[in-house]
């Protein structure tokens, strides 16, 4: 009789302890689910990680769409790249120093990004459409990476598009010849989010590693 009671007690104790440990296990599970859910909600809705080397823009107004002749052989519009981040750079092919350095850094950054690079597209918009033909841009861009797309508009189109990006440029003549000039131009690299909203601005002089690191941070 007593042994029965004893064994009843032990089994009840065991059961309650099992229930207790199950309870804790459940709690731990729910807590970890809450943390995971919170973290993913935070990374989805919370503030986007700040770029460390670029300037956060996080604009609410998107860049107005435009369509220009491209090195792909057919005209392309910004909206053709819907769903991808756009890395936009204004320059020209006879640019002596700033453009090749920046393009080389961008090409290297794309390599460093590896698979993540598929989520973005590098665009080069010429500020010198009078001298830069599509063919010339294609040859030039091939030096820096396989995935650059060059865009070329009319003088008027280019000025209006550049202004949208806060980019200005002008000819600097060095001799009497009408074709012997340099282009003084804004040297910033502008990153747009998949909705074409300006996201980050990289001033001139940011290295390939820094570009890649910041791009990885802000592309989510």
């Amino acid at each position: 009789m007593q042994t029965d009671a004893k064994s009843g007690l032990t089994s009840q104790l065991e059961r309650s302890m099992r229930r207790q440990s199950l309870g804790w296990l459940g709690a731990a599970l729910i807590v970890s689910m809450l943390i995971a859910g919170g973290w993913s909600l935070w990374s989805w809705l919370g503030p986007r990680p700040e770029p460390q080397y670029g300037v956060p823009v996080n604009a609410s107004r998107p860049i107005a769409d435009f369509r220009l002749d491209s090195t792909l052989g057919h005209p392309v519009a910004l909206s053709d790249f819907a769903g991808r981040y756009l890395v936009v750079y204004f320059g020209y092919t006879t640019c002596p120093d700033i453009c090749p350095t920046t393009l080389a850094d961008l090409g290297k950054a794309e390599k460093l990004l590896g698979k993540d690079a598929q989520r973005m597209q590098m665009l080069f918009i010429t500020v010198d459409p009078e001298r830069d033909s599509v063919e010339r841009m294609r040859d030039y861009l091939a030096f820096f990476g396989p995935n650059f797309i060059g865009l070329r508009g009319s003088l008027q189109e280019t000025e209006a598009i550049a202004s949208q990006f806060g980019v200005v440029y002008q000819k600097q003549y060095h001799s009497a010849s009408a074709t012997d000039y340099l282009m003084d131009h804004s040297a910033a690299v502008i990153v747009l989010d998949p909705q074409r909203r300006p996201l980050v601005l990289f001033p001139y002089g940011v290295s390939a590693e820094q570009l890649a690191g910041d791009l990885r941070r802000v592309m989510r």
Partner: protein, 238 residues
């Protein structure tokens, strides 16, 4: 006796745990939620929205020199858009600019330059000489306040396209436009536009102070708090 003691034991084990657990779960859920609500409602940190990239421009100032948006990087710039012949019914924003010039003069900006730029929409009549006379009339400090204009095409593109102020010129050459002021930050980001008129001075001053504060404080960990504050802003919709 044995049965009652085991019951008592169960009572001490289970309810305690389930209460504790309920508290734990409740706390885990409500504390961050409350924090978010408090942050969103009380706005312990106020920020001025980032509307978009301010337009790029190359204009000519009242001395015939070039002024570009790149020259103004690193400075907070207050713009107004007008003509030197703006008279009623044209609503003149120059008095607002004068008030802001005085406000900025007395302000400790912590080393961040604050500049004023008046863009004339009428390059035909507003020659450099006329802009100079206009600046004198307004008591403009030449170190702080620029008066510029450009070709009609460029003005349309920068003022109409970039700042989104639409204006027309009638057959008598008179310009018609709504009064507007804009503030652009040191990174070339358009932060504010005011389209009402004189009552905007106080709002512009408040926004200017907030932008200076953000520019001074938003480095490092505080930057994340400022970014979070941007999340809870009611942005203008486009």
């Amino acid at each position: 006796m044995n049965i009652t003691s085991s019951r008592a034991m169960r009572k001490t084990l289970d309810p305690l745990n389930s209460k504790k657990l309920a508290l734990l779960w409740g706390g885990l859920l409500t504390i961050p939620l409350l924090a978010v609500i408090v942050f969103a409602v009380a706005q312990p940190i106020k920020v001025v929205p980032r509307i978009g990239l301010a337009p790029g421009f190359i204009f000519t100032d009242m001395h015939g020199r070039q002024l570009t948006n790149e020259d103004l990087r690193g400075q907070i710039v207050i713009y107004n858009f007008t003509t030197t012949s703006c008279e009623a019914p044209c609503i003149d924003t120059a008095p607002i600019m004068q008030a802001l010039q005085e406000f900025v003069k007395q302000l400790d900006t912590g080393g961040i330059p604050v500049t004023l730029v008046t863009i004339s929409l009428d390059p035909e009549r507003d020659t450099p000489e006329r802009l100079q006379a206009y600046a004198r009339r307004l008591n403009a400090d030449p170190a702080r306040w620029h008066f510029v204009t450009g070709s009609p095409e460029r003005l349309k593109q920068v003022v109409g396209g970039g700042f989104e102020l639409y204006y027309t010129q009638d057959e008598h050459g008179v310009f018609h436009f709504a009064p507007m002021l804009a503030i652009v930050d040191g990174n070339g980001i358009l932060r504010a536009r005011y389209k009402r008129g004189l009552e905007d001075v106080a709002i512009a001053e408040r926004d200017l102070m907030l932008m200076l504060e953000e520019a001074r404080n938003s480095s490092g960990a505080a930057g994340l708090v400022y970014e979070a504050a941007h999340l809870f802003l009611c942005y203008p919709t486009y």
